[in-house]
Symmetry: C2
Subunit: 574 residues, 2 copies
């Protein structure tokens, strides 16, 4: 069930474009733009970048994704979690000025793009499996809290110093509550109220008004635009521009071509951040793309998506933007509004171009508190603390991964949290899988069935032990296998024959082969014969090829446990 | 099959000591000492430490292991691989003088000891499973080459500068061949010749002479002592002490109590080396201990061994020594010479004490070339290049781990090599396990058996698909499972029912549960019913507890595939 990854697989939507697609694509492209204009500026602010960087990140990357992506509905662009990681990654460098900061952002986009494209070409999309669900949930919950706290300065007007740690920021705000700017708080409160009402309350009201379903989405999702327009209006009306923080001058015009830093030392330092962004960004994109595609019974090719999103990031790197990914909220809207092809993305990109060319003066008086409100409302929906209890009840090992990731991200840092969470997950996985279920079996009545002696009333012989291992034999359990077999013969000093039943063994790796090799010798030294039974065909082929069967002796391999037992109980009693 | 780990489990050998044990313990203790005196000095030289450090490492650690160890035969002390890692780890610090170097060595012993004891108490011995066979083999082969090259300066008398890289040393020697000290080469050549003859040739000769077997081992294993005595004799006789490098003054007397560096910053920098030594040292010890114990049908408790070897390392830290482990060669000799209890270790320790108190003046004239020869002959036996071909033929993924570890250790460094080897191993493992075998099944004839449609002539229905996954569902394959199920319904547009057969599923982790949760919704959105069949008892219990069965609907879970098919083919055709 593998498919060839093509570089331009979806260009056929262009070649086979059908007229009836157009209205859906147009409407979807427009609605997404309405969300994207305020969001792109807000997320750029979250990343510590000027607002136009967010708009730039919504032009060329969207064009490229529209052409290369395999998902019809994925809306690529700036997203909250990636923006947070960009900000955290760049601050490590202590950039001295904005141009240095910008340079690092586009270099990060370049690296993320290269990593994603290479992973896609190598078909290494499976690597995101390291980001297990507990690690992702722990990360997203903590990241949402970190993001929310980082926006408190904009919501309160208390100018917090740049600190590394979330609790330091909280502490600072607590200590300087007297510096609060109440005007900022009021505007932020109003914005958040409106955004929450549009998100949770408006739906019911519109239904009561018998609003046609097709209008529901555009209206409920236009909240960010509404608060932006209202915010600008209030500032201008009441001349608040000297009393609260505003966005200020946003340069008009298209981004110029930018050249990322091509310095190996810088690359090396950015690499951990870039790898994390490449994986997390892709994970967010592919999960929403898959979920939307399945609703229309369509396929999404993970490796093709890696190439498309990677190429979008490369586009970002050369047009003054910063790393992008597929956003969950905007993609859902894109899908619901009827996006049929990549044209929807391209229409959004064109509208964003118009915005940056002609509309930036409108954002001069936009309060930063409004952008912060948009961020807060977006990320607060990501926080789900019930998942801790849920996971703890279901699986302790997963809960430990979750908790470690959550607290490390919260108190130490984004990348450290993910690395630690993944490591803990792998260690706990190794621990679980290193002790597979092993049963000593005996004959059930006069049948040819052999079952666990602990659970069934079976016949056994003191000089023979037959053991069944319920797992493939490979490096995590190779040592355990050796220990358990040797212990068994120590505990049963009369045993002369040991039969290993391989009915559940799909695979024997080199580590386990080495252990089997040693076992044959060790057991012989201890005066115990070693036999295999029920070895599967493919496993047997490999064991023969490598010479293990010759070493063991072909007469010591039995087709079935029953055959082995019959043979050994006859001539073995000496 | 678990046992409680006791801190002093083997003290009962002391309490229950039987008189007939004594002769074996005495002889084994003496023979091991004969090997250990020259080896301990040689390995200390390999670690960049003065010779007495090696002797100190053979006193208190042996006492402690003798009391705490669960293996009768393991001979603890300085070993080649660990000595190499100590040298490599300390050189990173660029220590300015010998006392600084020594301080770092004892601190390393302290950290290794702490790590091993803590791992033992936490029963975390399973962590060595990360060191799969390919990683270990690649590491040992490369380390043996690195060690051999590092000794070329002593074999040739060409004073190479301290370089980080093996190929630089080789290159330097090649360029400065004119500086060769022929006297050194002759002595080294003679030593190596004698050592190799004792190792490979003498055995046959002694047999021809009808030498009793009990004398064979002491004689063949005394080679290091023979070359040491001969070396000293030749230097004294021909007054060569100014013409070749000699060991020089070895301080007599017991080690003084030493206090390791207790500085967090130093600890942090030593930690990667300490972790690697703790794992590799333990791995070497436990594998030889297990193999020897099995010959007498005895048990070795891995976690108890961790505590015992860890305690031995703590002993090393406070008596001016450096990290120790169980040596393969000496343990085999200890076993063959008849060691019955930990007393053999204690006798060796006593004899080493006598050596360091009274015999060190004898080593003044010992040529360093002789010590280097002992190292070379010890490690050359570790090199086995046939393993590359063997592994390649058996398992490509393991071969890649092996090759990556080998070349990284050789060209970059010991720890980087191990870390990279383990990572590559994990990635390839994840890759393999991320695509479990999935079969669409159909009914065989009129039976209740359902088998793979690709291999058997079976009956299927266009509106039902039954899929069997041959693996537990967990984070490495959760994404793949979702993709393959969704693709299947895309490829079969007539399908209205999808049955997932869980007969091979022993475990469903949180990542897979999340995917199943999403699948239920995604498939419903696509108009497909989702059913489970043959869910095992323990898995079912957990799914019920967490509410998944309620979410899916209890009526959608079938005991057998046959029941599911009968039900669905009846009412499902709409």
């Amino acid at each position: 069930m593998t498919r060839k990854t093509q570089i331009f697989p979806r260009l056929n939507w262009l070649l086979n474009y059908q007229r009836e697609y157009l209205s859906g694509d147009l409407i979807a492209g427009m609605i997404v733009t309405v969300m994207l204009v305020p969001q792109s500026m807000a997320y750029a602010q979250l990343a510590g970048l000027p607002p136009q960087t967010g708009i730039y990140a919504s032009i060329v990357p969207l064009f490229i994704y529209g052409l290369l992506g395999s998902s019809r509905a994925l809306a690529v662009g700036p997203v909250a979690i990636v923006s947070l990681m960009v900000g955290a990654g760049i601050s490590q460098f202590n950039p001295q000025n904005l141009s240095q900061y910008l340079n690092l952002a586009i270099t990060l986009a370049l690296l993320v793009g290269i990593i994603q494209v290479v992973m896609g070409i190598l078909r290494a999309g499976f690597l995101v499996n390291f980001l297990s669900h507990p690690v992702l949930t722990g990360f997203i919950n903590a990241a949402a809290i970190v993001i929310a706290v980082s926006q408190l300065r904009h919501l309160t007007g208390i100018i917090t110093p740049r600190t590394e740690h979330t609790y330091e920021t909280l502490l600072y705000i607590f200590k300087h509550l007297n510096q609060i700017n109440w005007l900022t708080v009021i505007i932020a409160g109003l914005s958040i109220g409106i955004l929450l009402y549009f998100k949770y309350g408006l739906h019911h009201r519109l239904k009561q008004w018998n609003m046609p379903a097709i209008w529901m989405i555009p209206i409920t999702r236009s909240a960010p635009l509404v608060v932006v327009v209202l915010g600008v209006f209030i500032v201008v009306l009441f001349h608040l521009d000297s009393k609260i923080a505003i966005v200020g001058h946003v340069p008009a015009g298209l981004p110029s071509i930018t050249v990322p830093v091509l310095d190996w030392h810088t690359w090396q330092r950015l690499l951990p951040t870039a790898i994390t962004i490449a994986l997390i960004g892709f994970m967010e994109s592919i999960s929403v793309a898959k979920s939307l595609a399945s609703k229309k019974r369509e396929k999404v090719d993970a490796n093709q998506e890696l190439i498309a999103i990677g190429a979008a990031n490369l586009g970002a790197a050369f047009t003054g933007a910063y790393p992008v990914a597929g956003g969950i909220g905007r993609s859902v809207v894109n899908f619901s509004a009827g996006a049929n092809t990549g044209l929807a993305s391209i229409i959004t990109a064109i509208l964003m171009t118009i915005t940056v060319m002609f509309l930036t003066p409108l954002f001069y008086y936009l309060p930063q508190a409004v952008l912060a409100s948009i961020i807060i409302v977006a990320v607060i929906g990501l926080i789900d603390l019930s998942v801790f209890k849920h996971t703890w009840n279901y699986n302790r090992a997963d809960a430990i991964s979750l908790i470690v990731t959550f607290f490390t991200v919260l108190f130490i840092g984004v990348e450290t949290g993910i690395i630690l969470g993944v490591s803990v997950g792998l260690i706990l996985f190794l621990w679980r899988t290193s002790q597979p279920h092993v049963a000593i079996v005996g004959q059930v009545g006069e049948t040819e069935h052999y079952r666990n002696v602990l659970r069934h009333d079976v016949t056994t012989y003191p000089h023979i032990i037959a053991m069944r291992v319920d797992e493939s034999l490979y490096f995590p359990n190779a040592q355990y296998l050796e220990a358990i077999l040797l212990e068994t013969i120590v505990d049963n000093p009369d045993v002369k024959h040991l039969v290993l039943i391989c009915s559940a063994v799909n695979y024997i790796d080199t580590s386990a082969l080495e252990v089997l090799d040693a076992l044959v010798k060790e057991l012989r030294d201890a005066g115990v014969g070693f036999y295999l039974a029920e070895v599967k065909g493919p496993v047997m082929d490999k064991l023969k090829k490598i010479g293990f069967i010759d070493h063991l002796g072909e007469e010591n391999v039995f087709l079935s446990t029953h055959q082995a037992m019959c043979m050994l109980k006859q001539h073995g009693r000496f």
